[in-house]
């Protein structure tokens, strides 16, 4: 279970730092779109693997130094559901 503070940090990290390549709206950029409809066919375990270990040969880096497995699971679940907006 993630604390509300950590949840806020993760939302900001995905929107802002992942957003550098995937777009603030996650519609894609240098990296692909991360919307529910673009991820629907991909197994969650593979998405988690990509987040934690990156994809060698592409610009996707491993985020393992900054995320626990549980946090990566949470991010995958949120992405598949439609990622929350940052609260103002």
């Amino acid at each position: 279970m993630l604390s509300p503070e950590r949840t806020r940090e993760l939302i900001r990290m995905v929107r802002q730092d992942c957003g550098s390549c995937h777009g603030l709206t996650l519609r894609g950029g240098l990296g692909p779109a991360l919307l529910p409809e673009t991820l629907r066919d991909k197994p969650p375990a593979g998405l988690k693997h990509t987040i934690l270990l990156g994809r060698p040969g592409t610009a996707m880096p491993p985020w393992q130094p900054f995320l626990s497995e549980a946090e990566a699971d949470w991010i995958v679940a949120q992405l598949l559901r439609g990622f929350p907006e940052e609260s103002k």
Binding site: R15, Q16, L24, T25, R27, G28, G29, P61, F66
Partner: protein, 394 residues
Amino acid sequence: MRKALRAWCWAIVALLPVLAWSTEPVLRGTGDLGVIIERSAGRVLIVNTSSNSIISRVDGLGDLSHASVVFSRDQRYAYVFGRDGGLSKVDILRGTLEKRIVQGGNSIGGAISQDGRLVAVANYEPGGLKVFAADTLEPVADIPAAYGDGKLSKVVGIADLPGDRFIYSLFDADQIWIADLHDPKSPKVEKFSNIGKAPYDGLVTPDSRYYLAGLFGEDGIALLDTWQPQQGVQRILASYGQGEEKLPVYKMPHLRGWAVAGHQVYLPAIGHHEVLVADTVTWKEAARIAVRGQPVFVVARPDGRQVWVNFAFPDNGFVQVIDTLTGQIVQTLEPGKAVLHLEFTPRGENVWVSARDDHKVLIYDTASFAKLAELPAESPSGIFFTSRAHRIGF
């Protein structure tokens, strides 16, 4: 009676400024103005670099998660390129959005032509270059970045060249293209292939002669002499990462023309905690400077005496300053959380720094490194001053 008359006169005197205001706008130039992107809010701040203040806000610019700006040559209009394919023309004198079009699905940046008549947008989706009339934003030309069997490449690293040409790189196709828009109705495109794996950004030197494309997929920089393009693309700094493990890259570095200071160019080493220095006559490596993290922007003060560097996550709270005479780091600043960009005032006495996660822009004196002011801004990213209007490659 006399008292009443005197009161009446005073009333007129007091009203004079109001009357003057209503009949004639306050006259001013735009040479000390600029634009700051508030990336999450889809808004830009219009700022004054003489008074260190925010003078207005312009809303409604869409997704600005990767936004960049070029200026009209009269320095009145800012063309803002948004991530969502939006191209917005902002009147910085009036503080209004004059026109906005959505010209593509996903874009990375743009450039303005030498004569100021054409604005070109580099698109990821659909991959290619689109060119618009600077005054009306009406479409002028569409140049898909087609390669192989008709696939479209993401376009990166666009800059203007003399002769109403634009130079840019194809991230997915390992190519550099020069589009000649001298006759906008029939653009001519010159293509250079096999320039190196995955060019991620590019710059032209301040004289526009050399185009450099940073490579993500391998070490080194692709170099094209645009005065002698028949000589083709050569590789420089190819050995910089050899024997060292490349670190994961949490933010792509950016290349812009004012990384050139004196006869040297200062470049981010992708995947390394280093700034690379190359001689702009021989294009040989001159030095490597160890820095706090992976550089994102490596920017020379306009006089070239200092080079300022910011860094990728997780070192993005720091800014370091290199003295170009000694090659030493002379200052390490911690302006705030998530420093995304920095911009010098036209002659470099001050630098403005955006700290995204602290929601502020900080202004420093570049001689004393004293903080002069802080301005509130919502998730600020790029800072662009109108002095860019008169520089090739901006």
